[in-house]
Symmetry: C4
Subunit: 196 residues, 4 copies
């Protein structure tokens, strides 16, 4: 089975999940509209971090799928679960934006972190399933490209898991670290451009 329609469905879910994030950006607090808009900066930041996270995941998925020659049913099933997690991101993003100044930030950060950790785990599962014994890879894939991608994907779940657990100690530090990781990955991949 070719990957063409899988790409169409995947691109659709990524684009919709990213665009739906705007539905949870709202004015906050009281006073004049200018005051409310200023008060809502955590909403904008949460929107930006999640949008860029989804865009990075999309770009990485794009790079990966260019090495894959076709899909089988297990590959599709793993994609179904992966996309289910991508489409879940707007929910914990809203939780963080709403609870950033309250006692719920810890729970919100953990919900956000679990979602991103699970997304990274599934991303690795898709890649390992395709790359194990070169099961679904194109004939002409350079083995060094394959092992380079494997190395660059492996730390993702651990980094997200660590940042999630950090929320048990300091929710604010956890949330700031999620933003910093996103910023780092966005610039690292564009400045150095070799990690996949």
């Amino acid at each position: 089975m070719s990957t063409r329609r899988l790409e169409a469905f995947t691109d659709g879910v990524f684009a919709i999940a990213a665009t739906l994030l705007i539905l949870d950006v709202h004015e906050r607090g009281g006073g004049s509209l200018g005051h409310q808009l200023g008060h809502a900066w955590p909403s904008y930041l949460a929107y930006a971090v999640s949008f860029v996270s989804i865009a990075i995941a999309w770009a990485n998925h794009h790079t990966m799928l260019e090495l894959v020659r076709g899909a089988d049913r297990t590959f599709l099933l793993l994609h179904g679960i992966f996309l289910m997690l991508i489409a879940f991101i707007p929910f914990p993003t809203r939780l963080i934006a709403e609870h950033v100044r309250g006692p719920g930030l810890g729970a919100a950060a953990i919900a956000y972190g679990i979602t991103l950790t699970a997304t990274a785990v599934l991303f690795n599962a898709i890649w390992f399933y395709a790359a194990h014994g070169r099961r679904l890879l194109r004939e002409d894939c350079d083995p060094r490209t394959v092992s380079g991608i494997t190395r660059s994907y492996l730390p993702g779940p651990w980094i997200y898991l660590g940042t999630t657990l950090l929320a048990l100690w300091s929710p604010v530090a956890s949330v700031l670290l999620f933003a910093a990781i996103t910023l780092f990955w966005a610039f690292e991949s564009s400045l150095f451009g070799r990690s996949g």
Copy 2:
């Protein structure tokens, strides 16, 4: 008429219907945010079951359309009704998540079941319309593939109808069986991979 743009419209509706499901995942009950998030597990489960159901329907549709050489207006009309039912799924999914602990679960399960049963009926109607006398099938289709697909699609409406009727006796059993059917189909098709 080629099926290329039908695929684009279909992939769009599937991807949007699946991604819109997240709009109905909410915190529930009172207490701390952590407590509310724990209390909301039926929302997560309903989200996951419906997302995976839509993804399976998409994968089956994908498999079917690869055997079809072109569309006529009746084929398009049947698709219009089929997609109308796919796009309806978020509504009864929300009903189940909201009424899982209340007296409305029976009505919610019946609404969910009628939607899935009708979806499966239309899926069969599309296939039988295309396959009858090989009306819209590719020249090079293996007759055994065609009859294998026919056999694998036929039980779907009856299984969903039975699970729907079960809600008259026990709404909880009906809902659990819908989840189990989805899980079974997800794994069966990926482990054995021959049923279409």
Copy 3:
């Protein structure tokens, strides 16, 4: 300019507008959930009529674009306005579903009718712009196909305008006629299949 990306954008707007309709289907009234779901039948009917209307417009657009060899900026501008009207349909659909039993049905039916009339006018404008002097048509278009399409599109705006004006006299008759027109066009095009 080729029409390939115009198709992608157009298919996207059609698919999203149709799928967003579900966000306005709600339980209505009081009592048990079963009672509320039964009471909400106008929501289901409005959902179905608008979904099928959008699907028919999509199929007609599909047929038309197969005759077009390329787009210029005016053609794109007309499409922008056409898609703006297609994406508007969920709003008056919700008005009809909410006001079907109240004194607002007349205003709702007129809002719905103006939207559909304007959509049909723009559809004709796109076609006449492309077909005038065969400005954007493929070289190999059969002149009889072109004039057949022209004849089949022309009555659309007048039929919708008449049905809209009927709401001034009887809102219920107007709404029923909109449903009947949709049903007729869905079946007529699939049963006879020659009007485009």
Copy 4:
């Protein structure tokens, strides 16, 4: 890396952002439904201006991408930020529609203006990154086309910035100028068709 899947993701975000605008069109004020619908005209106007703005940005993006032979990671990153801003447009659009008759119009117009100014800045950044030393341009691009595009894109951010600053003096004038700019660009590009 080819631009094919970037187009798919981009078309998706544009189409969804434009179609989501309808979710913020509501009846306003009291009285009969007809009165409320008449009172809501700023919602319709804001919907139309933003929908057409997004459609124009899409058409310009389309024209630009036809000159680009491929994407690198920086090009993707710039697109990520650009699409994040496009998908943000529904939020300040709603603010303008809601505050058009109140004291918040100034803040709403500034929020709208900042969003459009930033969008135009990113659009220029994408183009200059691709065109600088012909980094990502097709071999067969006419240098005069390239410098013509550069000239036609450059004023965009300054025009939007000026219109935004106008809101400090007169919010109403600023909002009317945004509508006039959109109208002008829609017709200018379709009537003269050479600027972008």
